[in-house]
């Protein structure tokens, strides 16, 4: 097990290196940051010198090597846009994105699983049809449109919730949290709903399909025949057996939620990493883009690792199978 984890972590380094390399090859196409960094009166000589001294004239592979060399020493460079260390900028934005993503994922689970169970058990009930219709909207509408519609209804028309920002935050060491203030929670509702809606509908449909599958199996029929209460059959046996794919999908989607919070953060001016990344792209702020991309790659690797480990916990067969395949089956 430990060897497995270590191997996966080593692989993650390779993944991050590849991501960084591809990123630097692509940076040739995001445009020139120099004109964004100086005013229109700045002389040609100063522009050229800035370009030279930032190493922007070097080939992509040289820029990549320099970046990796510095990154290994924990130095991710200076933001071209904000003249501050990139690591500090990302660290300051990380809590906002993680809090938003976690709440969105929990909302998706807390609402998606019961809805999936319900629609699985009561296939023809009118409420199930309503749930399915709503989920279709969640899957088919683009995120920014959902965000703008929510702002229109809850901020502009009803005036209940703020349309942008994170509200008041409390600083706990370097972590800034919005969980401890009323305005923080108010500000969280709309973006978290926007971000979690797609995942919610996905989880609901997944749970529903799995439930329908499991309810047809023999052991459920036997359980019913033995007179075990419906409740215990549905939640004790059926739901438990639907969880493996749900964990996989939720885990993998968590990575996507963090990575694709970009759009939601932009619509709600949520001060997270996604907004930082988008502004970095517009500015061609190469150090910020590079650091963000490898951080996201790292998240994906770690989340995948955790998902794999959860499998072992949830499904004992995996452990047995693996042992058999490895030739160490207990005789």
């Amino acid at each position: 097990m430990i060897a497995f984890v270590i191997r996966r972590l080593l692989q993650s380094i390779a993944v991050m290196l590849v991501v960084a390399l591809i990123a630097f090859l692509l940076f040739n196409y995001v445009g020139d940051p120099i004109n964004n960094m100086v005013g229109q009166d700045t002389s040609i000589q100063d522009r050229e010198r800035l370009r030279e001294e930032l190493g922007l004239n070097d080939p992509a592979i040289v820029q990549f090597a320099r970046f990796v060399g510095n990154a290994v020493q924990g130095d991710f460079g200076f933001s071209y846009r904000q003249s501050e260390p990139v690591s500090g900028l990302i660290l300051a934005r990380l809590p906002a994105t993680l809090e938003l993503s976690m709440v969105a994922a929990l909302m998706a689970l807390a609402v998606g699983v019961p809805m999936g169970v319900y629609t699985g058990l009561h296939r023809d009930h009118w409420l199930s049809k309503v749930f399915l219709a709503v989920s279709l909207v969640g899957i088919s509408l683009p995120t920014f449109l959902i965000g703008i519609l929510l702002i229109l209804v809850f901020a502009v028309i009803l005036g209940w919730l703020p349309s942008f920002g994170r509200g008041e935050v409390v600083q706990l060491g370097w972590w800034s949290t919005g969980f401890l203030t009323v305005s923080g929670w108010q500000a969280l509702i709309l973006p978290a709903t926007t971000l979690g809606l797609f995942q919610m509908t996905l989880i609901m449909r997944l749970v529903r399909a799995e439930m329908l599958e499991v309810l047809r199996t023999d052991y459920i029929k036997f359980a019913r025949a033995r007179g075990i209460p419906r409740r215990a059959v549905h939640f004790g046996h059926a739901l438990k057996n639907t969880l493996v794919p749900v964990i996989t999908i939720t885990g993998l989607q968590l990575g996507s939620i963090i990575a694709f919070a970009i759009i939601t953060e932009t619509v709600f001016q949520w001060p997270g990493m996604g907004l930082l990344f988008l502004q970095a792209i517009q500015f061609a702020d190469i150090p910020v883009m590079a650091a963000y991309l490898i951080l996201i790659a790292f998240f994906f690797v770690v989340i995948n690792l955790i998902v794999d480990m959860l499998y072992y916990l949830v499904d004992p067969r995996l452990r047995v199978d693996r042992a058999v395949a490895g030739g160490h089956a207990p005789s």
């Binding site: 995001v30 445009g31 028309i157 005036g159 349309s163």
Partner: protein, 526 residues
């Protein structure tokens, strides 16, 4: 879109305004200041907003006139020597007194590596301290527009900078954090109490400010909101007192909403088209072996084929100001008489093209930004459609500003759209940057003259304009240079683009034509 508009109108009638203390003023722009260091970036939002915190020797009022700030009076004692009397009893936000030494320190700091504003003091040879509150500024040559150059050159406190190790300007290349990036210590009417880059900046009035405040703000909160739709929604929902820019297409929605209004006025930014007249063969064209833009008839044909009034009505929603000159009325040197456009006349344009040897027209590439100027891409599309009427096939490449500027500033363009606001608000700046021959001797001459328009007489006049002290003689030279450029169709000026700000009705403020928002004029009602 229609549904969205009507629901927003409905929204307006139902809008519940969030309670806010009367004198807290909240405003939003699409981006943030890049740093609080007043020498870090020569750009409108950064310097304009910092103008509430820092002050220069002189400043601009709401009509862009030069008025006293840290200097109370000044006079030209010799053609190259100006004597400035400094205001007495002024303190910085930290309580340090303001003296001549701070001015001299600021000059040194402005000239250091990393500073983006050395051009503001480029004409200065030295600053002499006569006493604590009198200085003499010696210029290398007579400089008739010295006070314009200095209007947003801000004075920093020497002791504060030394104390916090911020003697040097913020420099990305240095790789060290600079205290002045996030902290400010000016003499202006507002001081920074909280700064979180990209999130919010909180200002409070400076109690010991030397002036008598016209505003009634007790707290001002600035939030960048990058998404247009969100910025407009936040204004409509009452979370903001003022927001800018407002997209032109949202203007009517704002005006239809009770409690908020649109402030639209012409900006001093001129939008124009440029053509490569330098190369013997265009980079992006079907014409081989010669450059059609070297023929003045072709340039004129392009000019007369473009209907700026249609662009104004259809694309700019009536808010732009068509122009025949490369400078706006707010800019020193503008002449109402010369501001007469050649008429829109596609027939004449076609005849000119035929005469020049292109009866079938030709194909040419065009570069355009899509996130830099008001409706920039739409303007380019309209231009392409209008040129198609005279047989010119325009291959439009509209892209984000980082890509667009990288391409055109490498002179890799045949036909492009660009906008320009002279930072000095004087005609010399566009003449030197846009209309002078691209120089081998001085690469900065004509550095934004991407099409390489060249007339030696214009260059000669520009050099004289730079140091001519007599206003009448100077204006005559400017007129002559502008006339030459206009008759030769060096560029095709289109319009001054509109400013578009949104505000609550209960708030009074002044809209400056340079898109600077000055808190000094804000009065928050009831």
């Amino acid at each position: 879109m229609t549904r969205l508009t009507s629901s927003l109108a409905l929204a307006a009638s139902l809008a519940i305004t969030l309670p806010a203390s009367a004198e807290t003023f909240r405003w939003a722009f699409q981006g943030d200041m890049q740093a609080l260091d007043p020498y870090s970036l020569n750009e409108t939002l950064t310097l304009g907003t910092l103008g509430n915190i820092y002050e220069g020797l002189v400043m601009r009022d709401k009509d862009l006139n030069i008025i006293p700030a840290l200097a109370t009076e000044w006079e030209l004692v010799e053609p190259t020597v100006w004597r400035f009397k400094l205001r007495e009893g002024v303190t910085f936000h930290n309580g340090n007194p303001f003296t001549a030494d701070d001015v001299i320190f600021s000059l040194e700091r402005t000239r250091k590596e990393g500073s983006d504003v050395p051009t503001k003091v480029a004409s200065i040879d030295e600053i002499r301290k006569i006493d604590d509150h009198t200085i003499e500024i010696v210029t290398k040559n007579p400089n008739p527009i010295l006070t314009s150059d200095l209007s947003d050159w801000y004075i920093m406190d020497q002791e504060w900078a030394v104390e916090h190790g911020a003697e040097d300007p913020v420099d990305v290349r240095a790789g060290v954090e600079n205290y002045a990036t996030r902290h400010a210590n000016g003499t202006g009417p507002f001081m920074v109490v909280e700064r979180e880059p990209d999130v919010r900046t909180v200002l409070k009035p400076f109690e010991n400010w030397w002036g008598e405040p016209d505003h009634n703000i007790t707290e001002a909160i600035f939030t960048p909101i990058s998404s247009d739709a969100t910025r407009v929604a936040a204004l409509l929902s009452g979370e903001l007192d003022m927001a800018y820019p407002i997209p032109l297409q949202d203007g009517r929605r704002l005006e239809a909403t009770p409690g908020v209004s649109l402030l639209a006025g012409p900006e001093a930014r001129t939008i124009f088209l440029g053509m490569d007249q330098l190369r013997d063969e265009l980079l992006e064209s079907s014409v081989a072996g010669k450059n059609p833009f070297q023929d003045v008839r072709v340039r004129r044909a392009f000019y007369q084929a473009i209907d700026v009034e249609a662009i104004k009505d259809k694309i700019m929603r009536g808010a732009s100001l068509p122009t025949a000159l490369m400078v706006a009325p707010q800019v020193n040197g503008f002449s109402e008489e010369l501001n007469e456009r050649y008429p829109y006349d596609p027939e004449a344009a076609r005849a000119l093209l035929t005469e020049a040897g292109y009866p079938e027209g030709f194909q040419v590439g065009m570069d355009c930004p899509n996130d830099r100027y008001v409706n920039d891409e739409a303007i380019c599309q309209a231009v392409a459609a209008m040129l198609a009427q005279i047989g010119v096939d325009v291959e439009l490449l509209a892209q984000t500003k980082s890509k667009y500027f990288a391409k055109i500033l490498a002179f890799d363009t045949s036909f492009y759209l660009l906008g320009w606001t002279p930072s000095t608000f004087d005609a010399h700046n566009p003449l030197f940057n846009l209309m002078n021959c691209r120089g081998e001797d001085d690469p900065n001459r004509g550095k934004f003259n991407l099409g390489g328009y060249c007339n030696e007489r214009v260059d000669e006049l520009t050099a004289m304009i730079q140091s001519e002290i007599n206003p009448e003689k100077r204006q005559a030279m400017i007129d002559e240079a502008f006339t030459l450029h206009k008759d030769e169709f060096g560029h095709i000026p289109l319009h001054q683009q509109p400013l578009s700000w949104g505000k609550k009705d209960s708030v009074e403020l002044a809209q400056r034509a340079d898109n600077v928002f000055d808190l000094r004029y804000v009065v928050v009602g009831e």
